[in-house]
Symmetry: C2
């Protein structure tokens, strides 16, 4: 199917850390498609969003976890991993594809904004690399990714063949186990987390807080990623990093700003 | 100008930390507009993007830095601060306005995505609070914020009066010093950071890396925030957290995904 004369170069990254089962499964699929380079955090970096490391230095070392795969671990965030890969490994010669994941846990709907997995893919897209984030609705260390693999291969092949529309990337989420009905192209559902903080006392009687929360879907649309996943489909949402709310510009232009003279 | 019978409740947050001069200047303006509650990181959290703290507990304590102002410091990220404020201080009764900053350094263009200041404002908007991030083109501890204040007051008054279009917030940036020509409603410029990593050796001869970079504007438009700031205007960009690239949906629907049968 692919018309490249030589095999594509593929950057693999994640946020669960270089030893997570999810990235091993993603590497296995990507080895069938091209030359794989892995740059991943040296420990879990979930919920890091688009954080970068600017106040302290980064460590970045070659490791050999899986035979025949060029791998590096990094002390920084998922976004740092992409920046280091582009600058230090590929040295300006961009990879043909950047894939992130497979995340242990969904990154559908508003989760896209908190997710280190998706932010790594966003950074790939900012760098001009066709980029895809993959996530599975299963947090467990023993998660079964086998039903995802043929879809990951097919979606990646399509992206390698067509490229992606300028300044976009893909957010791909998988339901847990079972029979999948196919792929649905979706929009991000309008949902949010209702936070709770679990307050506890440390041994010195000082309070501390754990962030917990409940996912609230406020969107009844059948064209959303939440709907697709609840109905047994693989959800594919095209994502952009131009955050401008273009529709709001005329509204703001109608306001009269009363700026007092000095 | 404002028609509220009682004074509005205003949440002030930032990413430079609770002792930064920028937040002091923002508090001073907000005291003229309403009842102020400050929840800010206990140290610098620049470049934290939309990170949240999920792998460790949070500390959260009352402090009394400025007379007559209810203030709390938090060990977490800027987004954690907003979540804690909504859940633990306002206890579900939402503030009327959430303002973040004044950041020491611009958050125009692609910086919106890396910025803790802007992510705190995004989180405010996700919580359904009219939210604004303010940033000044001056990283120094001795930055002069005085020319920003009348604009911050005016923009905040307009937001309190009109509200904001659903699921949007404002990204406001100020040029350094000098005469400002007025307010321009803009779109996010298409720009990026070209990274460099400064490689050094530690005392044990192991390499480490500092992230540095050069801002590259690839956008010649005169309707962008970069243009406005370069030409002496205050830039106001409406921002959204629906990241769906809606224009890409029909393109992806035209693809044929060749998913192999098991």
């Amino acid at each position: 199917m692919m018309k490249q004369k030589s095999k594509p170069n593929i950057l693999v990254v994640n946020d669960d850390g270089i030893t997570a089962p999810g990235i091993k499964n993603l590497i296995d699929v990507m080895k069938e498609l091209g030359n794989v380079v892995v740059v991943a955090p040296d420990g879990p970096q979930s919920g890091m969003g688009h954080a970068i490391t600017i106040g302290k230095p980064l460590r970045f070392d070659r490791v050999d976890l899986y035979e025949g795969v060029e791998m590096y671990k990094c002390s920084g965030t998922p976004v740092d991993c992409v920046k280091l890969a582009v600058n230090k490994i590929f040295k300006g010669k961009k990879p043909d594809l950047c894939v992130s994941g497979i995340n242990h846990g969904l990154n559908n709907s508003i989760n896209v904004i908190y997710s280190g997995t998706m932010s790594a893919a966003v950074e790939g897209a900012i760098e001009g690399i066709p980029s895809i984030g993959f996530s599975l609705d299963d947090f467990s260390e023993g998660a079964d990714f086998s039903h995802c693999k043929k879809f990951i291969k097919s979606i990646s092949e399509e992206v390698l063949k067509h490229g992606l529309p300028q300044a976009t990337l893909l957010n791909v989420n998988f339901p847990k186990g079972a029979e999948l009905k196919g792929i649905k192209i979706c929009r991000q559902a309008n949902a949010k987390w209702a936070e709770e903080f679990d307050e506890r006392k440390d041994p010195y009687q000082r309070p501390y807080y754990w962030l917990t929360g409940v996912f609230q879907n406020n969107d009844k649309g059948e064209d959303t990623d939440v709907w697709a996943l609840e109905n047994g489909f693989v959800s594919v949402v095209p994502v952009q990093f131009d955050l401008t709310a273009h529709h709001a510009i005329p509204i703001l232009n109608s306001w009269t700003f009363d700026v007092k003279k000095d």
